[in-house]
Symmetry: C2
Subunit: 306 residues, 2 copies
């Protein structure tokens, strides 16, 4: 059974975004009985080992926390319905996951292997994106001074020039391009063998999401795109993307790939795409796994136009 | 006559995003005959003074350029249909706009007063967002070292640790919230007197755009939102937002405002909103100007549900 939503897009925690900047609020949350901490070693989350790592997130108490990365305090993720405060923390090194029935797993594998409930994937994405941002922003881009975290982990302020910095979220346009009963899919040389996916690229400053679709598709394949319709969004924590899933209508057919971006790009008939999804395509071509918004965009097109 | 699109959302230049990282490409563009440069003094664009500043963008030749801000080289905006290379440059100080029939105007006023054609507003937004990013990112957030620009202005690299940094584009959810024939509009204490607008807030790491709508509306007004539909996007260069315009269905009615975020929020009937738009509302309430995506979202709701 395929999921109704792409991975990382459900999050049951209440972020308390209107309260996080109040004086003393963060410290009070840290001090709460039952406060729990997800811990990352590098980009990997510490999990209970369980059978095939299926034991779920290892929630540390405050006193159990390993030594944390310097100048990256725990970030507040949110409260659950029983008011338990949830945080994420960045370990200084890999010892956090050494033995004791624990294992550190990368965030993509956790989703791909279905190791946690869907609503935990949202908080894992939130944690991973925020901690990655903190660990790479300990200095001020404006003056080179040292920054320190505030607002429960949603701000860093420069101790030298006073500049305030906020977490990044990078919008990415990802698009199923359609012409009659055919879909344009491409493969990067980084992809798994035979895998074809929807094209994608970062939305640039001074550009609509829709124009980003047109620009990226033309740049990568020389296909002209007209109408563009939005379908859904997905947080994609590698490290902090917001995927904006869209369907675009091709105005041309002749593909010329940009070899720096793509190893291949082709028009596949909807029937072929169905076979790619069920892994019965005669050429062994496949589509990405159902954790991806690409898979959900492809399904959306087949469901609504197939 | 109201515009069919919000301001800053049309851009006629070809960004050449697939070529910008090729060795020597940027320098060759700079050297091209006819290369032209838009110049910013602080956050203001240098324009021909003209009647009411209506003389349009002052395009400098390379030899006309004033002294530029240190370590912020001209950024490539794109080529027009006649292959003319367009750049934007950040002046070191305000002399760039001193006399000579020139005037420096802020990017919002240029849109509001209709001083340039719609397709020039997109490149002005692109230029403003990119130059603002460069001027605030001359140092490395990872190590505090000095960064230098590359990829024709679409990257900065750290000379010390080698980290690569890319321009920010911050996604913002902005939403017309509807219940039967009523729309939820709020006013910040920063707004012009009597102006009510759609609510808005930054999409956070690990969150869908749709959940950002629900979170922000609940946080600011305590209204619960169910279904959310995307309508359109807009680049908003203050300094580098991507506005994601959506319509949400309210599941509750009772408003409790967050006084830190809003001075007021109310349900207005669609008939009232129409009067607010024509400036005939009995209480003198008004909606934002038609350069904003807020205005276009409001019109979208009235057109499709009114």
């Amino acid at each position: 059974v395929n999921p109704s939503h792409p991975a990382y897009s459900k999050n049951a925690l209440d972020r308390r975004s209107g309260e996080r900047n109040q004086p003393g609020w963060y410290e009070a949350q840290l001090d709460k009985a039952g406060a729990r901490f997800a811990v990352f070693s590098g980009d990997k989350l510490v999990m209970h080992a369980g059978p095939a790592g299926s034991g779920g997130i290892k929630w540390f108490t405050r006193s159990e926390l390993p030594t944390l990365m310097g100048n990256v305090p725990p970030v507040f993720l949110g409260a659950d319905t029983s008011e338990t405060a949830h945080f994420a923390a960045q370990a200084e090194n890999d010892e956090a996951a050494a033995g004791n029935g624990l294992v550190a797993l990368d965030v993509r594998s956790i989703a791909l292997q279905g190791l946690v409930p869907a609503h935990d994937l949202g908080l894992i994405a939130q944690a991973r994106s925020l901690l990655h941002w903190h660990s790479r922003h300990r200095f001020c881009a404006n003056c080179g001074g040292t920054t320190s975290a505030g607002d429960a982990g949603y701000k860093r302020s420069c101790e030298a020039c006073g500049a305030e910095h906020f977490p990044r979220t990078d919008p990415v346009a990802i698009m199923a391009i359609v012409r009659e009963s055919n879909m344009l899919l491409g493969r990067s040389s980084r992809f798994a063998e035979n895998m074809f996916s929807t094209l994608a690229g970062f939305v640039e400053p001074g550009e609509t999401a829709e124009d980003a679709v047109r620009r990226e598709v033309f740049e990568e394949t020389a296909i002209r795109v007209g109408r563009v319709d939005y379908v859904m969004s997905q947080p994609w924590p590698f490290p902090a993307n917001l995927m904006l899933g869209m369907v675009g209508e091709a105005l041309s057919e002749e593909i010329t790939i940009d070899p720096e971006e793509l190893a291949d790009a082709r028009w596949f008939s909807f029937d072929e795409v169905r076979m790619m999804n069920t892994r019965t395509h005669p050429g062994n071509a496949v589509v990405p796994p159902d954790i991806s918004i690409a898979w959900h965009l492809i399904r959306h097109v087949l469901d609504t136009r197939g």
